[in-house]
Amino acid sequence: MRNTLAKLIAFSIVQIAPSKFQTPYVVAIVDGEKGERILVKIKNEYFGLLRAGLEGEIKEESVDSDKFNFFYPKDKVKSDSERI
């Protein structure tokens, strides 16, 4: 699946959740390229960057046997690719 550009609309850092979810974790709403609303996860290492309007990419990734959409902030995506 091709990565999709997206913009962060709202997010929440979840501290208390049912034990099947490992806290803390971030869930968020983003707007996709066509303005569609998409539910995503965001990796904890990006806590400090999060703000409404943040641009980035959505990548589908597997976690154990489940598949989730993950949002990667744009600047982070750029620096990762420069490193490569």
């Binding site: 929440s12 850092i13 208390i16 099947k20 709403i29 609303r37 998409i38 539910l39 996860k41 989730f68």
Partner: protein, 403 residues
């Protein structure tokens, strides 16, 4: 066109031609348990709710006159009991009564009353006993939250969007969009806890300051522990009748009632800060009652999470969009304001035994309208509104009550 707008346009088109059925359905009796951690099991709470409601009928009622028994209960896993309708019949000596259970997440109570009222209006029943019951404290918080997450959309459940985090999306966006602050959310908690001091049924009789709320534990940012309604046991029941004057000289009438729906997931909404289901439900209720929002003198609204109370003000038409928080800053929804909201203490402080909640809210307004609310009586009230919503506002039931 965006989904929420499409939904509202479709509703307006259909509803323009819809007429209200004018059958005077009245509330004639009630029972209400204490809310909190209770020693009784679910069948005992159910039994007490039914038997006390019957014995509280002022002019008396033969049990065989009750031809409908509706049970509001959210999750059988909380109580390990199926067939609650049939179980409830064990406590009612009426061979002709139909009985069943209704579930609409936190809106179950309101929905059970709505269905019972509809059946009376259609002539399928004359007297309906609606009982809400929930036993939540007999399981761990972890199990309870695993059950409560089911109020969201399938996608939200899959991603771990807990109820607090779903409300967090709306609460965060609302602050960014309209310039409200965490202090405004804290004020909802402060107000409702202060109100609950006057309510002997309330789970909590403890006041908090704005700073205490703002420094309480983060559950799902920006939602904090003191924004969250508690886990509660409790039961509440009312008797509805098509001939209220037969059973009491002091009935309270359902003047208007409406149900509205929105997307299951908050993420699917083009404006997550607006409670569309509540807007649709209240439009219907106002139309049937032939009243405007500015005629409502008191309200009980669904503050499962404190920020939701502010958003609900706007959907009910009490405030313009984006200005709900100003009602609190101007003290208008405080107990001594011109539109007291949640005089009972609300879900936050009175407690939230999910299946019983919506019925408990109607009982509060019933007592206020009869002048029987004790220390928390709002003076000279003739028209009150109750808003009870499920999930993160995917289902909403609005009831307007009056004398």
């Amino acid at each position: 066109m965006k989904k929420q707008v499409q939904r509202y346009v479709r509703y307006r088109r259909i509803n323009r031609k819809r007429r209200c059925i004018i059958t005077p359905v009245g509330v004639v009796s009630f029972s209400h348990s204490k809310f909190g951690k209770l020693p009784q099991d679910l069948p005992s709470l159910l039994q007490a709710g039914i038997e006390e409601t019957i014995s509280n009928v002022e002019n008396g009622i033969d049990q065989s006159e009750i031809d409908l028994l509706v049970v509001s209960n959210v999750d059988n896993q909380l109580s390990n009991q199926h067939q609650l309708g049939t179980l409830a019949l064990r406590y009612l000596r009426s061979p002709k009564a139909d009985a069943f259970r209704i579930e609409a997440a936190c809106a179950s109570g309101g929905m059970a009353v709505y269905v019972a009222k509809k059946m009376i209006e259609m002539g399928s029943a004359k007297n309906a006993l609606v009982v809400g019951v929930e036993k939540m404290t007999n399981i761990t918080t972890d199990v309870a939250t695993s059950i409560l997450i089911r109020g969201g959309s399938p996608e939200e459940i899959y991603y771990g969007v807990t109820q607090p985090s779903a409300y967090a999306f709306s609460a965060q966006l609302y602050m960014e969009k309209y310039g409200s602050t965490e202090d405004d959310y804290a004020l909802v908690t402060v107000k409702n806890h202060r109100n609950a001091i006057r309510n002997p049924w309330a789970q909590f009789h403890k006041e908090f300051t704005v700073d205490q709320v703002k420094n309480s534990q983060i559950i799902a940012s920006p939602i904090r522990l003191l924004h969250c309604s508690p886990i509660t046991d409790g039961a509440a029941a009312i008797l509805l009748s098509s001939n209220p004057k037969k059973y009491t000289d002091n009935p309270v009438y359902i003047k208007g009632m409406g149900v509205g729906y929105d997307t299951m997931g908050v993420f699917e909404r083009d404006d997550p800060t607006f409670m569309l289901a509540t807007k649709i439900a209240s439009d219907k209720a106002y139309k049937c009652a032939k009243v405007k929002p500015n005629q409502i003198q008191a309200a009980e609204v669904h503050d499962a999470f404190s920020p939701a109370e502010i958003m609900t003000y706007e959907s009910l038409g009490f405030a313009k969009r984006g200005e709900g928080y100003k009602l609190l800053r101007e003290r208008r929804t405080m107990f001594d304001g011109d539109l007291p909201v949640n005089a009972s203490g609300g879900l936050k402080a009175k407690g939230h035994p999910i299946g019983a909640t919506g019925i408990g809210m109607i009982i509060e307004m019933f007592l206020q309208l009869r002048g029987q609310a004790g220390e928390r009586q709002i003076p000279n009230i003739e028209l009150g509104l109750v808003e009870n919503h499920g999930g993160t506002g995917a289902t909403s039931v609005v009831t307007i009550l009056g004398r």
